[in-house]
Amino acid sequence: MLTERPRALAFTAVCAALAVGGLWTVLGLLGDRLPDPMAVHWGGSAPDRSQAPSVFGAQLTGLYLLGALFAASIPWRADLGRRAVRRSLGAGLGLWTGVAIGATGGIAAANLDAASWELAVLDGGDAAIMAAFAIGAPLLGALVGFALAAGPDRASRSVAIPAAELPAGAKVAWSGRQGSPVSYGFAIAASALLLYAALIVESDASVPLTAFGLVAVWAVYALFNGVAVTVGARGVQLRLGLFGWPRVRIALEDIVSARAEDLSPADVGGWGYRVGPARTAVMLRGGECLVLARTGGREFAVSVDGAAEAAALVNGLLKRAEAA
């Protein structure tokens, strides 16, 4: 399953139907057994916030659809032939759908037959049902999505790069730069979310927390808005972000070979600086990456345009060092 775009889209549609359809079916069928407004948030066992069922439904629908739309765009941005991509899509969307269903079921169960929202107290039985919905539904969703992602893994589109022919005595270096198409959008969206959260949550701690959050978000932006890569006598050097710091340097002696490979964020665990079991990656966008096989058996990958040219130079320099 999930190997073709129509199937992945159908899965997304089924998930959306389950989450959104389920939500409005529950609100409709149980309408006369739910208080209006109903409790939507609890501090301990006592409810501390209420919303009209229709407002609750609309907010949850909007939030859910944001995630579902993102999931629906994945088949166009990544290769569904890769199992890692299918697993991210399947488990991620399954989890998200479970969260929506869990919120619907848990909140409806807690409010059921309460005379008013203040009386929707979470006693022992209700708390257990709420926990079962809140934990069980996302877990089940993620497992189902993960199972649907099964199937063969298409061989990665890895290009073996022959060594560049370096003229005797010539000194050659390569430089390339990769911007990040998502970092600016991420920083703007995260800042807006933080400011919105600060406005709706009334707490003494919200100003310092929001300030801290904004600094953290823009620090991530400064670190990952781009990467500059050079290849030459000193090996492969990366300078991260706006300030060209921190740097990562891999000496030629530590490199076995270089190649170019199409990798997506799903292959390496997401965007940014990713340390995986066999591979460390600086991933700013899916697509062409310079991949270095290191002497320790690990790999290092960086997403950068012109990776094939860089890999050829690395291999050329390695060949020359070997001949010397």
């Binding site: 005797a168 270096a173 000193r234 300078r239 012109g306 130079l313």
Partner: protein, 115 residues
């Protein structure tokens, strides 16, 4: 893009390096606004003296191919491609004039008289 210099070549290293950057601009491998690595890093990777790289970059700045911005590094200038082509034509003209026995002063006088 690739930077390449050959110590065995009769042309000075800084000229060769400037040449490879001009060529990258002319061929579109470097576009206006693109950044050049810091001179120190480029010198380390090319295994040449940092002064050689600085001399090449300053020369290109004076030609209007590069822009130096404090704290923001070295970039390809907005009008680099036009300037770069003009400078290449002038260099070719000077070489041709020298081959034909004209001095640079003769050439300058010729240009002065041309309308």
């Amino acid at each position: 893009m690739l930077f390449q210099v050959s110590p065995g070549d009769p042309a000075p290293l800084h000229e060769q390096l400037a040449g490879s950057i001009r060529r990258a601009v002319a061929e579109g491998a470097l576009a206006p606004g693109d950044r050049i690595p810091p001179a120190k890093e480029l010198a380390e990777q090319l295994d040449v003296n940092p002064n050689t790289v600085l001399r090449a970059l300053r020369g290109l700045r004076d030609e209007g191919v590069l822009e130096f911005r404090r704290g923001r590094g070295v970039r390809i200038a907005e009008t680099a491609d036009v300037r770069s082509r003009l400078h290449q034509q002038v260099r070719a003209l000077v070489a041709e004039a020298e081959r034909l026995g004209y001095t640079r002063a003769d050439l300058a006088a010729l240009i002065e008289r041309t309308d």
